[in-house]
Symmetry: D2
Subunit: 294 residues, 4 copies
């Protein structure tokens, strides 16, 4: 049945893994936008043409991000050719459902114009939660790699107690680090204490900043600049996990000789198999909810 058929169009190793998981779950999966050398699993059919992939499928899976920076092509880092958004739109069957990550214009405009249902899995809360796991583990890998001492016994600061901050605090404390989390909202401070960590407000950050061996920033706001940067010890490692524009004045930090690592997109880099499984799981959640009309 066509309703159980997926076309995975472009993407990196995460898309390959998502294709594999869908096939393992018993779905019919076609792929396009990958070179022959990509080692797709045997039960995923790499089609010769885009049309072949799309015309036999109901669910169209676009990568994360769905589009190349130019905005007119699908994002196909594992493909020596190219897929124009225009071509993709033209070849879409009348009945289909498009699922992609970070969907944007002109693609979404087209889809609306042609009344094609679509969903952006990147916007789903469970997607963000699940990806916080590889992000936290990636941050720990960086910390282990970059420091000449053990995390056990080290003094770590985490700024922000959102998804990544929560998991990072748990993991670092379990490894024996002394963990302080800096947050703004009273309920965040209550959670930090309830979980057994030291809670700190941003008001007291500057006076204590020199006591930390490692600083993990998760707040996408200019927190580490000016005076704050000058109070940080030279041997403190700063790992900035905040999405653009980040939370560190990188140029100033470089001038001061601080060791700052801006760690972006860790899930795809550190745990692409898990990241692909998360895409697959989120897609399945979206489909299930659509089916039952939630």
């Amino acid at each position: 049945m066509k309703q159980n058929s997926f076309a995975v169009i472009g993407g990196d190793f995460r898309s390959v893994m998502a294709a594999q998981q869908l096939a393992e779950a018993g779905f019919s999966v076609r792929a396009y936008g990958f070179d022959n050398t990509c080692a797709l699993p045997s039960d995923v059919v790499l089609t010769d043409t885009l049309n072949e992939a799309l015309s036999h499928s109901f669910y169209m899976i676009l990568p994360l991000p769905a589009l190349a920076p130019c905005g007119t092509k699908i994002n196909t880092p594992l493909y020596s050719g190219e897929i124009l958004v225009d071509d993709f739109i033209k070849l879409l069957p009348r009945e289909c459902f498009v699922l992609g990550g970070m969907l944007k214009n002109p693609l979404t405009e087209y889809l609306k114009e042609y009344h094609i249902p679509f969903s952006d899995y990147f916007l789903r809360e469970e997607f963000a939660v699940a990806n916080a796991v590889p992000t936290a583990e990636g941050a720990i890998e960086i910390a282990l790699h970059e420091t000449p001492y053990t995390l056990c016994g080290s003094s770590c600061l985490i700024t922000g107690y959102g998804r990544i901050g929560k998991l990072l605090a748990k993991d670092l404390a379990a490894l024996g680090a002394s963990v302080t989390v800096c947050a703004r909202r009273p309920e965040s401070l209550a959670w930090i204490q309830a979980n057994g960590f030291t809670a700190s407000s941003f008001a007291h950050l500057e006076e204590n900043i020199s006591t930390y061996d490692i600083v993990f920033n998760t707040v996408p706001a200019p927190l580490f600049c000016g005076e704050m940067l000058r109070k940080i010890r030279k041997d403190t490692l700063i790992i900035d996990l905040a999405s653009k524009p980040g939370g560190v004045d990188f140029e100033d930090a470089a001038r001061l000789g601080l060791n700052v690592i801006w760690a972006l997109s860790l899930p795809g880099k550190c745990a692409p198999k898990t990241a692909g499984a998360i895409i697959c799981d989120t897609i399945c959640n979206i489909i299930r909810e659509t089916e039952v009309g939630v």
Copy 2:
């Protein structure tokens, strides 16, 4: 300065502890609505009359709940006398701020009518978060007390992954229990897995319910009734932590000979000192936000 003065009017041991903490923080604290035998700390002044307490204070602290069940008296379990809401209102100074828990009519109507600012600390998110700690510890104390086996090695189910479910899962797993958490929303299931527990949907609950040694319910909905109750093993302990009406058909469970404990208001019962400190902390948060005009 009057602005730094508190009147603590009625309440149980939590109010006594809140009064003590406020006094230790350097505030001037008067108390009324407690018998002499209550062992108030020496720096809290137990006044002879209600007027004496109110007229010298700016912040009026009412207990949790603020009113006795009748609704016309302040809740004063540690006082052999009584305090009528009418009297309390009449004696309030023109300038004051009333802070209480579970405030309701006619008290709130009066306060609005007389343009007296007030705030219900029970409605604050950080209050609920902080109280989840003594609730989870109280639930663990019950489980330790009621079972002839260790939590280490036991198989525990938690239904619901809100504040209490989150802390309970963490604590039980740390003690060596195998922890399954049942939740509805995809992001809750993602969090459960991210934290290393087994996630289960309610759809599969009935078929697995007989595998659990202890069930902790935190969902205030009729979950454990009918067929579900009949699938629970006779030696399974059920601890219902959900507020009224609870999640268990208690009568039916009793008929079936199941061991159900409905554990309500654990913070005040198991850790009144902590519960009092939480009231004090939340009051201070409210006052701070009012001052800075947040």
Copy 3:
């Protein structure tokens, strides 16, 4: 086959549970020294006479402790009658293996004289390790019950880092307590730090003792007496887990108005089912090693 047959003679609920577990493992199990009201499981045969139990069995399971304080009777707290050691010895078949806890004279002398093989499961290291779990959980239950505050956020001291100290430190830290462990040997201090706790030497104990909310003693030596006792805060809870003579000068502590709880034999009291399973597991280990000639 007789080699797979067990006689469980006397004991408390732990013996009942051990009998049940042996029966569930497929062995033939006879029991004697229990009243009819003991609710033995249906596949354990309560015999009418001691001879009936012993003559059909190869493994003779005595309780913990095996003997009543007088030394001449088997320890039978769940039996209105009595079993003389002399009778037990006389009725033992020529070929058998006696397993008991805290075996002592005259029983062991008899067994040696008659060349009857025997083993004391109480002396096995894995028995002691496994029983540290219910002991630690029992200590936590006491701490939860006796304190008006939560363990989360409390400051706990553990003296000694043996079996119980290790598990207690892990559990308390996981519940959010700040955990300091006091030990003597450098390798113990290294382990304490490796596990992420604060290590302290006994030399600094007295100067810091007033900072702890709860003290768990596991050292069977006179640690808490004289000056040390006088430095402990009146609201500190002391839980002494050390076997006789304990580590606290109880009389002096009582004079000082300190809250001391001497918690002995927690496994049998708090988790008899687990304690019975541990007896059963240890017996099976002993038998297996005897068979393979380890």
Copy 4:
């Protein structure tokens, strides 16, 4: 006073860090056997001659290992010159105490002959315990780096429950991995269960080996060879932490295309600062015990 003076002779970055820590603790520290470029801390005096370092010091700190493979020179990886053991011996003052790691002949023979007291810090139990922390963290860094999935949700096997196995099990479980530990002795199996992990005996290892994503071996015995190797999945990562000869038939594993990493000497590689601090701490313990005559 000379008794408070140290000569740090040769070694890698760990020796540099040990020298720094000793200086920070207030001792007088001379160093020899390092190039000028080694960035020794300012309060450590890099002497021009070996004699200058030795003649002013009481405690002589040799590196880990103390000798170069040839056995006739001190191990000086950060020095472009060389230090002959013969010269070291000749220049030793009459009163001194030599502390080194993995001391062996001819050095120890000399020391005995000249009645010079010495101690091997590598043989101390607290040294081994403390070094298990950087070893476990190094193993986790390797696992994070080498796998395309997260440790959270992965299935990990640890063979052996000694120092490294204990810490690794704790850390991996805390990160959300499912942890099985394989051990031989009944008390080890009891500890594994008491700590909340899955215990497995070696008898059942081969039948379950294909279920694990990552295998951490800590047993220095030929465990992973022959049939066992053939049952391991091709995508399983094997990290061998056992000292020589290791626990894996590396050649056979390579033939089978298995991913095996033999991770030796992780403390010095992954956390040299911590490893240096451990040397310093152990030295201080030895000196303290010598002084008080323990």
